[in-house]
């Protein structure tokens, strides 16, 4: 049992125990009292289950029926600070490493899944990409030679099924609600709050912050602005601004 949960470690439980019992009783609930979001069971080629699956009994058939599997017996618990497309990509990177390369769907297909997920989490994805992602994942599952390739698309398929909205947000609204996908973040300076001290600009490694010609009422100096093309989303400016003028969107 690992992830964003209070008690991590090795546990032995009887078959048939529910996910909820494990996570909330043995695991002591989610860290920092945050919201439970998903649980990945069965290792990298398992699926991500959601709150609606919390009462699923842990046994071979029920987990498969829910879209995941027993697999290695591992569980990774995720809260609202996890981005599901990014999680799918994380697991795919692992299976790409593990692929032996013998069959084409797994050798090339998993690489392509990974690249498509990268495109989506970078904010370059389209709705067509989501269709293609689902089709490719299904074909790999259907055609790969061994168990690795036949299960490696599971994280993609289960997150597409259970977190479709989050994918759509990434490709349509170009937003990552968990704030994980850096390329989708925007650092902005509220020109009304900015007093124009320029501290942020000094600390910016990308020289992304410049002065505007707008001076907010009541301030002496013109306020600053962030060029989001240049911004590396490092977060240095936000911590340095004592006036709370900088925020992430």
């Amino acid at each position: 049992m690992a992830g964003q949960i209070n008690n991590v470690g090795l546990i032995e439980v009887p078959m048939g125990i529910t996910l909820r019992e494990i996570i909330y009783e043995i695991g002591g609930g989610i860290k920092g009292g945050r919201q439970f979001k998903a649980v990945q069971t069965g290792g990298p080629s398992g699926g991500c289950l959601t709150a609606k699956h919390l009462d699923t009994a842990i046994d071979y058939d029920s987990l498969v029926a829910a879209g995941s599997m027993m697999g290695s017996g591992g569980m990774v618990v995720m809260d609202e600070t996890s981005c599901m497309p990014a999680i799918a990509k994380f697991y795919l990177e692992f299976t790409c490493e593990e692929s032996c390369g013998k069959c084409s769907p797994c050798r090339i297909g998993n690489k392509r899944l990974c690249e498509m997920l990268e495109k989506i989490t970078d904010g370059r994805g389209t709705m067509e990409d989501l269709q293609e992602l689902r089709n490719l994942a299904a074909v790999i599952k259907d055609t790969a030679l061994c168990g690795l390739g036949q299960t490696s698309p599971n994280p993609v398929l289960s997150t597409l099924d259970n977190f479709w909205d989050e994918y759509v947000e990434h490709v349509v609204d170009k937003k990552c609600r968990a704030g994980v996908c850096k390329k989708l973040m925007r650092y902005e300076i509220d020109r009304e709050k900015c007093i124009g001290c320029g501290k942020c600009a000094k600390g910016c490694p990308a020289e992304a912050i410049t002065r505007t010609d707008y001076t907010a009422p009541g301030h002496k100096l013109a306020s600053m602005v962030i060029d989001s093309e240049k911004c590396l989303k490092c977060g240095a400016c936000i911590g340095g601004c004592k006036f709370g003028a900088i925020s992430v969107k």
């Binding site: 790409c96 090339i108 297909g109 392509r112 089709n135 030679l145």
Partner: protein, 591 residues
């Protein structure tokens, strides 16, 4: 027998039949990419890796690879359901997404199985864009490797490891980086490779190709200071026609001679002529060894192995350095021809050997490496300057706006053009043996051979090693024939263990069916019946020849009288025989 339905069609097959074969039996041709078979010739590549052949089997969770799934009683198979077509197309799109797709500049353009597959499936665009796996390019004197085009079908690996037992190629690295390469990723030229080129013959794409020497030859022809001589190997004439839409097995000897003349070669000669010469030398050598043996010489090396296949020669140099005294020292017909051309013929026409360019047309890739060997050069000038393959000759003819179909029948030039039926059959497995027996028998026994056709040694199907015993006036001469170096390895190991079967003479050819199945021949794409038809044509050509025994070739008789004196004499030893080198360091390095 097993009953099943394929696309709702009832099919009955024997147990152990794959869905792919059952479907073919029912007239349904499921596309494949990695699967490759030389039916009846003991070669099958079945890694189940490409997944192009997937089909739907009712009740099965995922799709099944037809090439690697056995039929079961009551099975219901669907080969073109929407699910299957979508999966198959997606798989091919994936393969193409990791492929250079530069067909216009590709050696395989028009002969490529991936190209054909993309066309058949109607691939219009590749939805997947992404990284391309890439690997350094590499080449020997015969084989070029461009792994960026490799589709990991593993045919080359099976060919090299199982059929040839050379073991130069295997899968290395994993996942997206996986490629086929020699051990420790060394260059192919530094490996155990013998340049037989069979990996090229079976590669479905342009990942393994031949080293193209057309440009070199065109340049020589265009050079007014050079006289250019061409020789054509026996197996070329029964296959070249395929490149011009003729049926496999059409004999195009006369048309080929006419085309070569039109390409601008100054003298159009025949390797068949030097094959007759080879028989004189090798047959005499065999009789010499047999006679010494009968006279009680305990050190005589028997069996005698043929030495006309350079793939095989390199194989024993690399693998059997302790047995280098066994093979005949006679040069291959290609090199004998080169030696005669650069010595005797150059002198005869009053041209310096450096100004005579000898080109060979061969069914073979190993010959490209053979003619570059140092021992076949005089002061750096090779006896054979360039070796082209049957496929390269076809390209050249097309480049020069000619069509073999339109060519008249012409003869070879004299004096290195006339040949016998014995030389013709060099192209097929067992042919060298049969030709040698025709001559050795008559020299040894001093009487005509009662039956000229030695049928026991013929054929491309059947036993891996064919044997026969020929009665030489009470002396039982035991012969063995094989193609494929894995079979040769078994025979060599027998010899190492004291030759328990008492063979006197062993013929080895590296390629399936002998040179007719050589790596420089038109691609057979796994149709062994094409090789069979080339073989039939070979024996037809032999049967139709007025002279069928090498020692009766008047031009051969003449050259001994005029120049060489006698077979295995002093001058022929100098020019027509060679020696072998221990090349086992190439193998040791990979152990």
């Amino acid at each position: 027998m097993i009953n099943l339905t394929i696309d709702n069609k009832p099919v009955q097959v024997e147990e152990g039949t794959t869905i792919l074969k059952a479907a073919r039996q029912a007239g349904i041709n499921i596309p494949t990419l990695c699967y490759f078979e030389l039916n009846g010739m003991k070669f099958e590549n079945k890694p189940g890796g490409c997944r192009v052949c997937v089909v739907e089997v009712k009740g099965r969770k995922n799709l099944a690879p037809a090439c690697a799934t056995d039929c079961m009683e009551g099975m219901e198979v669907f080969t073109h359901s929407a699910r299957v077509i979508n999966a198959r197309k997606t798989v091919v799109e994936l393969i193409l997404s990791d492929h250079p797709n530069d067909c216009l500049q590709c050696e395989k353009n028009g002969d490529c199985e991936l190209q054909a597959l993309a066309k058949r499936l109607g691939i219009k665009e590749i939805p997947f864009k992404g990284a391309q796996s890439t690997y350094r390019k590499d080449a020997t004197l015969s084989v070029e490797r461009d792994m960026d085009k490799c589709v990991m079908c593993r045919r080359c690996e099976t060919m090299c490891n199982k059929f040839q037992s050379v073991g130069a190629l295997s899968g290395v690295n994993r996942g997206f980086q996986a490629v086929v390469a020699p051990a420790f990723e060394q260059n192919l030229g530094d490996s155990s490779c013998v340049n037989c080129g069979q990996c090229v013959q079976v590669c479905p794409v342009g990942a393994l190709t031949l080293v193209d020497n057309i440009g070199d030859v065109m340049k020589a022809i265009a050079d007014p200071t050079k006289k250019v001589v061409v020789q054509t190997a026996p197996a070329v004439r029964v296959a070249l026609g395929e490149e011009f839409g003729m049926q496999p097995g059409e004999i195009v000897t006369g048309k080929m001679a006419a085309a070569l003349r039109r390409l601008g070669f100054d003298y159009v000669f025949d390797t068949d002529w030097s094959a007759d010469l080879t028989i004189m030398e090798e047959g005499t050598e065999l009789l010499g060894r047999v006679k010494s043996f009968l006279a009680g010489d305990k050190n005589v090396k028997l069996p005698l192995f043929t030495s006309c296949c350079p793939g095989w020669v390199t194989f024993y140099e690399k693998n059997f350095p302790d047995l280098l005294d066994y093979p005949s020292t006679a040069k291959s017909p290609q090199q004998m021809f080169g030696a005669v051309a650069k010595n005797y013929f150059a002198q005869k026409i009053g041209v310096k050997r450096e100004d005579l360019v000898v080109v060979s047309i061969m069914p073979c890739l190993a010959k490209k490496s053979e003619c570059a060997r140092d021992e076949f050069k005089v002061n750096g000038d090779p006896d054979v300057n360039f070796s082209l393959t049957t496929r390269e000759l076809a390209h050249m003819i097309k480049q020069c706006n000619l069509d073999l179909n339109d060519m008249p029948e012409e003869d070879f030039d004299s004096p290195l053009g006339q040949s016998t039926g014995a030389a013709v059959i060099f192209g097929a497995t067992g042919g060298v043996m049969e030709a040698a027996v025709r001559t050795a028998y008559e020299i040894y026994c001093g009487k005509p051979l009662p039956k000229i056709d030695l049928e026991a040694v013929r054929g491309i199907y059947g036993d891996s090693v064919r044997t026969a015993t020929v009665d030489f006036n009470g002396l039982a001469v035991k012969v063995a024939i094989c193609y494929g170096l894995s079979n040769a390895r078994k025979l060599m190991e027998e010899v190492r263990n004291g030759n328990p079967n008492g063979y006197h003479f062993i013929e080895v050819m590296a390629c399936p069916g002998g040179c007719i199945g050589g790596a420089g021949q038109p691609y057979h794409h796994g149709h062994s019946d094409i090789i069979q038809k080339r073989m039939e044509a070979t024996y037809r050509e032999d049967a139709g020849k007025p002279i069928r025994k090498s020692h009766e070739n008047p031009d051969i008789i003449a050259i001994y009288k005029e120049y060489y004196g006698e077979p295995c004499g002093h001058l022929s030893h100098e020019q027509l025989h060679t020696h072998y080198f221990d090349k086992s360091d190439k193998i040791e390095a990979t152990k």
